[in-house]
Symmetry: C2
C-alpha cells in the first residue's frame, strides 16, 4: 500500500491557494499503478452480491469501469448536467460555494439492484452522497461506497454515515 501511496503526487494550491491536491495521474501513468490499485478493489468485491457498479464522472470512470471489467458487472456512469443523452434523474447538491448537478439515466438501475458506488476521492462527501441518492431514487441499494483516497480531515465519512465506506488510502492534511 505504501507503494501506491508514494506514487500519488501532492500538488500545492490546487484548485485554489491553501489546498494540497492529491494527484493520481502520477500513479496511473506508472505501468503497475492501476494494476496494484485494482488488485485490492477486486479482492474486496469479488464474489459479493453486486449488480451494478456506478462510477462518478470523471475520475470515477477510471476505477469504476476497470473494476466492472474485472468482475463482469455492468457499469453505470453518473455524469454532470446535460451529458447523458436519454431520460435522466438529476440531483442538485451544495458545494462550498454554489451548487452542482449530477445525473443518471432513469433506466440505469432496476429497483432492488445492489450497487457499488466508486470514485477516486472522498473529500467532504457531498458528491458521493448526491450520487448515492440518485441511485436510491431509482430503487437501487448502495452496497458500499469505494474510494481510492480518503481525506480524513474533511470528514466525508460522517456525511455518508448511512452507507458502508471503503477507502484504500487515507491522507491527513499537513
Amino acid at each position: 500500500m505504501q507503494e501506491i501511496r508514494s506514487k500519488i503526487r501532492a500538488v500545492p494550491d490546487f484548485p485554489k491557494p491553501g489546498i494540497l491536491f492529491r494527484d493520481i495521474t502520477t500513479l496511473l501513468k506508472d505501468p503497475d499503478g492501476l494494476k496494484d490499485v485494482m488488485k485490492y478493489f477486486s479482492i474486496r468485491y469479488k464474489g459479493r452480491k453486486i449488480d451494478k457498479i456506478v462510477g462518478i464522472e470523471s475520475r470515477g470512470f477510471i476505477l469504476g469501469a476497470t473494476l466492472s471489467y474485472m468482475l463482469g458487472i455492468g457499469f453505470i456512469p453518473v455524469r454532470k448536467a446535460n451529458k447523458l443523452p436519454a431520460h435522466t434523474r438529476r440531483i442538485d447538491y451544495a458545494l462550498e460555494y454554489g451548487t452542482d448537478t449530477l445525473e443518471i439515466h432513469s433506466d440505469a438501475i432496476i429497483p432492488g439492484e445492489r450497487v457499488l458506488l466508486v470514485d477516486d476521492l472522498l473529500a467532504t462527501g457531498g458528491t458521493a452522497k448526491a450520487a448515492a441518492q440518485l441511485v436510491e431514487s431509482l430503487g437501487g441499494i448502495i452496497v458500499e461506497c469505494a474510494f481510492l483516497i480518503e481525506l480524513t480531515d474533511l470528514k466525508g465519512r460522517d456525511k455518508l454515515n448511512e452507507y458502508n465506506i471503503f477507502s484504500l488510502i487515507d491522507f491527513k492534511e499537513e
Copy 2:
C-alpha cells in the same frame, strides 16, 4: 461484433435537434458489454510496442483505463481546461460553434514514447486531432488512434489522415 452494435442505443435529437446520438451506456451496463469490447481492443494491441495509453475525457477514460489495466501500460488522461493540477500543455481547437480546450500534464509523456490514443467516438475528429497534437508537443509518437465507434459520414478519418486509425464499429447516419 453485431452483439456489441445491438447494445448501443440510438437517441434522437441529442445534443440538439437532428442529431442521432449513439449512446454506449446501454452497452456498458450489460455485464458482458465492456468485456466484449475490451477483448477486441486487447487482441489488437497486445504485444505492440506501446509505452503509454492516452484517454480523452471523459468516456475515453472508460476504455483507455481498462485497456491500460489489461495490457499493463501506464494511463494518461487528456482533460478539459483547468482540471489537471500540475503543469500542463494546452491546446485550443475549433468546434462547430466556438472553441474548446484540452490539457495534458507536461510530464505525462517522455520524448520518444509510443502512444496509443483512445476515445469512445470518432465524429469530426477535431478532439482526437487536438489530443494527438498535445501528445506530439511533448515528443510522443502516436502509434494509432483507437475508437469504439466511428461515424463515417463525418469523415473524421480524413482529418486524422496522418495517423493510423482503428474503430471497432461504424455507423452511417440514416
